[in-house]
């Protein structure tokens, strides 16, 4: 942070930034063309999608190189292109895009992983008759996601954000013939909506406070000193500034998209979609969008924090993010232990990893979270595609208990998968996951506010290692328990796996504490190759290694190399049945929602009914009684007059009711007449009162 001041921010847009919009535009255009293609034009469709994304990748790499060169010359590259979209009243609605290290890194990641997954899906979806539709959606999704990445206007970001949500809905429900898929799609859509409502509120509030929709606008943007200062002035209750509150609202949206604790329920069900979709959307990119959003508005989140030394300071928003993230990490990891669907396991592990990222953002700043995001994107995509290849090879079998011994049948898949699994577990020193996760844990260990998240994250790491070992030993070791004869997947599917595996290993090199290149790149420090470790670092390294080893060993000891038959209970179940049951039922979250939210509505309906019947009814009854008494009294006082009057009144009311009922006779012209009469009367009154 401090050194960042020394950097002269360079804002004027260069050539590459002018053309940055092409990156999202191309895939969207491709999807538009594909959407009008006829069904038999399969090859053309996939080629269009892949080609467009390939070009986007090239552009993204160019942009990245540009940022890199600027950075190496000591510039904090942040180039924006803003333009006024439409004029609403006097207020121009401004859109724009930004090129800075954050978006550059993200662009390259998304386009690259996306490209690999596109290629992979040409193999995976080969038999599907809706091939073209699939690629249309896929390309649209990629475009929208890239739009989210480059957006410099929170409105543009929100548009693309919703577009992403829509495409994810379409893709989860891609096999809409299956009721389960349709239900999952709906669930995903609605759950994320819940978050987005808050997000929208945050946007509106931000706009109201800062008067601009742009993030960076030559000093006038909502994330720049001026606006942030304005946001920090007003302290509401509980020491929450406007910035903090808006940050929390936006975080709610992010939580919805990237399955943080209260809103994580949709993500596992989303596995109903085709596996490439799971890999692209629910591992690499879309769920990461939430994290990216938080990283994008990090200045807002961390506004008003006082950094002490190495660890950045904290704000209420960041604290919330940290706690939510950490608890999500542990929580999802716990659930993942007791799942039997290969993709569900991965889904829950995704949730927990997203928790790590959030926690990383909370405790360690942008770089820490983003680094894990990038590495995770690679190895989780790898895992999902590996799982897809396994499912493909094992004849659409998804239950890990019906697999096993695939090591022999599909070696490519096995080795790549193993690499991904080790990366996910964070196997020491070699694999990227280790470094990225370690950075988070380290940051957590330095967190001033509380120690608990640190321990939670460590525990999460243990669990991760455990359930991944369980899964791998189920799937690849022991005897083959599935039906039919397992076979290796085609080259077009395994080649991307290999590439991703390579990256899953190598990416770690960018973020080792010895050479924290990535961190510096994102935080605009010059890259320094330094062997300076703060005290306790080695210990930390050791701790996490031991934890990982422990997890692996435990998993192997429980599940290693034995091939249980599908119907016999799980090893852990035999060990501690009650725990297993709790986990196997996903900690009863869905049931919890059923028991709270929905039950609440039932209860509320009951209450309303009761109020209506008893309270209201009784009131009416009492009033009636009162009147009765009153009437009695009157009869005693002055029977005739009052009685007569009362009867008359009743008659009048009755007749009036009759007349009104007759008016309501379902003939349009009569209604029109009444309307006209009313107009006449009103107008007459108006004029009468108006004239002098």
């Amino acid at each position: 942070m401090q050194e960042a001041i020394a950097f002269t921010p360079q804002i004027d847009a260069s050539g590459i930034t002018q053309w940055l919009w092409l990156i999202p535009a191309l895939p969207i255009l491709a999807s538009g063309i594909i959407s009008v293609l006829k069904q038999p034009r399969r090859k053309l469709a996939s080629n269009l999608a892949i080609g467009s994304l390939g070009i986007s990748l090239l552009i993204a790499i160019t942009a990245f190189a540009h940022v890199l060169s600027g950075w190496s010359h000591g510039y904090a590259v942040r180039e924006v292109v803003n333009f006024s979209w439409i004029q609403v009243g006097t207020q121009p609605v401004e859109l724009g895009w930004v090129l800075d290290p954050l978006s550059a890194v993200m662009l390259v990641m998304v386009t690259f992983v996306g490209l690999l997954i596109f290629i992979y899906s040409t193999g995976y979806m080969e038999q599907d008759e809706n091939y073209t539709r699939f690629f249309c959606f896929l390309a649209l999704f990629a475009g929208a996601m890239l739009g989210v990445v480059i957006a410099n206007s929170i409105l543009l970001l929100f548009m693309c954000w919703e577009l992403v949500g829509l495409t994810s809905y379409l893709l989860i429900g891609f096999w809409y013939q299956r009721p389960s898929a349709a239900a999952a799609a709906r669930k995903a859509f609605i759950t994320t909506r819940v978050g987005d409502i808050f997000f929208l509120l945050g946007i509106v509030w931000l706009f109201a406070q800062t008067g601009t929709l742009l993030f960076y606008d030559h000093g006038a943007g909502s994330l720049e000193q001026l606006a942030l200062g304005g946001l920090l002035i007003h302290h509401s209750h509980w020491g929450l500034t406007a910035a903090g509150a808006i940050g929390l609202l936006i975080f709610a949206g992010a939580a919805g998209k990237s399955g943080q604790l209260p809103l994580h329920v949709w993500l596992p069900d989303a596995m109903e979609g085709p596996t490439p979709v799971s890999a692209l959307i629910h591992a690499a990119t879309m769920v990461a969008a939430g994290v990216y959003l938080v990283a994008r508005v990090y200045p807002l989140m961390s506004a008003g924090a006082i950094a002490h030394g190495e660890a950045p300071g904290t704000t209420p928003a960041l604290m919330v993010i940290t706690w939510v993230g950490a608890s999500t990490a542990v929580f999802a990891a716990l659930i993942a232990i007791a799942q039997n669907d290969i993709k569900r396991i991965l889904a829950y592990s995704t949730v927990s990893q997203l928790g790590y990222m959030m926690a990383g953002l909370g405790v360690g700043g942008v770089a820490v979270g983003m680094f894990h995001l990038i590495t995770h994107a690679f190895f989780k995509a790898l895992l999902f595609m590996g799982a897809g290849s396994v499912i493909h090879g094992a004849h659409e079998e998804q239950d890990v208990r019906r697999m096993g011994g695939l090591r022999k049948y599909m070696p490519w898949t096995f080795y790549t998968y193993a690499a991904g699994m080790l990366a996910l577990c964070g196997f020491p020193l070699v694999f990227s996951g280790f470094w990225s996760k370690d950075a988070i844990i380290e940051a957590a260990s330095h967190w001033r506010t509380a120690r608990t998240p640190y321990f939670m994250l460590l525990f999460g790491a243990l669990l991760t290692a455990f359930y991944m070992t369980r899964q791998v030993s189920y799937v690849f070791f022991g005897e083959y328990r599935g039906h039919g004869h397992a076979h290796e997947s085609p080259r077009v599917m395994t080649a991307p796996l290999a590439i991703l595996a390579l990256f899953a290993v190598l990416l770690g090199a960018l973020g080792t504490p010895a050479w924290p290149w990535f961190k510096n790149f994102l935080e605009d420090h010059p890259a320094a190759f330094a062997w300076k470790f703060e005290p306790g670092f080695g210990g930390l390294l050791l701790t996490s290694s031991v934890i990982v080893g422990l997890g692996l060993g435990l998993g192997w000891w429980l599940y290693g190399n034995r091939s249980p038959r599908a119907e016999e209970p799980d090893a852990l179940q035999k060990a501690v049945p009650p725990l297993w049951n709790v986990l196997a039922n996903r900690l009863y979250v869905d049931e919890l929602y059923g028991a709270t939210v929905i039950a609440f509505y039932y209860w509320w309906a009951k209450v309303a009914d009761w109020i209506d019947r008893d309270i209201w009814g009784d009131m009416v009854a009492t009033i009636a009684l009162l009147f009765k008494g009153w009437a009695q009294l009157n009869r005693f006082l002055d029977a005739k007059m009052v009685d007569g009057a009362f009867d008359k009144g009743c008659e009048e009311i009755y007749n009036g009711g009759g007349i009104l009922a007759r008016v309501q006779n379902g003939r349009g012209q009569i209604y029109l007449r009444l309307l006209a009469v009313a107009v006449v009367i009103l107008a007459a009154i108006l004029i009468w009162s108006g004239r002098q």
Binding site: I86, Q669, I670, A676, V677, V680, A683
Partner: protein, 167 residues
């Protein structure tokens, strides 16, 4: 207070009256077009060329034809035996008379303050086009969407049901 104005107004009002009173619906529709023409002429007299021609193009060219088609499709061209006026036609007449009375009253009340003459505005169709493209662009878009929706809606509403078309 030109003689032409009287003529045109008489034209329009007569057309309107005929449209409302004629028994044969097709005659009514044709009378309606006369009324539209008269109104268009009034627009022209108010130096609103564009609106006037648009009025003729839209109403005479499209709406009147639509009405005629609808009449023929619903066999409206033959006169029903139970008469063309609804039971409570007197009430309806009275009410509309009252509406006219109130409106006229309002106008006459305000007449002293209303301007009697105005300089002819130096406006070309280009100005209208520019205004539509710059100041009123959002309404224009919305109208476009509305028209599309109305088109589809009308088609869907008036379309035969599936089983009807199949057999």
């Amino acid at each position: 207070m030109g003689f032409v104005f009287y003529l045109i107004s008489a034209f329009a009002v007569g057309g309107a009256l005929a449209a409302v009173l004629l028994k044969n619906l097709v005659h009514a529709a044709l009378a309606l077009t006369i009324a539209f023409f008269g109104l268009a002429l009034l627009f022209l007299r108010l130096d609103a060329q564009f609106a006037g021609f648009a009025q003729i193009l839209v109403y005479v060219g499209a709406v009147a034809i639509l009405v005629v088609f609808a009449i023929l499709l619903t066999r409206g061209s033959e006169i029903p035996k139970e008469g063309v006026f609804s039971k409570g036609w007197i009430a309806g007449l009275a009410i509309s008379a009252a509406v006219f009375a109130v409106l006229a009253w309002a106008v006459l009340q305000a007449a002293p303050w209303l301007p009697n003459e105005a300089a002819t505005p130096a406006l070309t169709v280009n100005d209208i086009g520019n205004a539509l493209m710059s100041r009123y662009v959002l309404p224009l878009e919305i109208i476009a969407v509305l028209l599309t929706a109305a088109l589809l809606g009308a088609v869907i509403v008036a379309m035969h049901e599936k089983e009807k078309t199949n057999q």
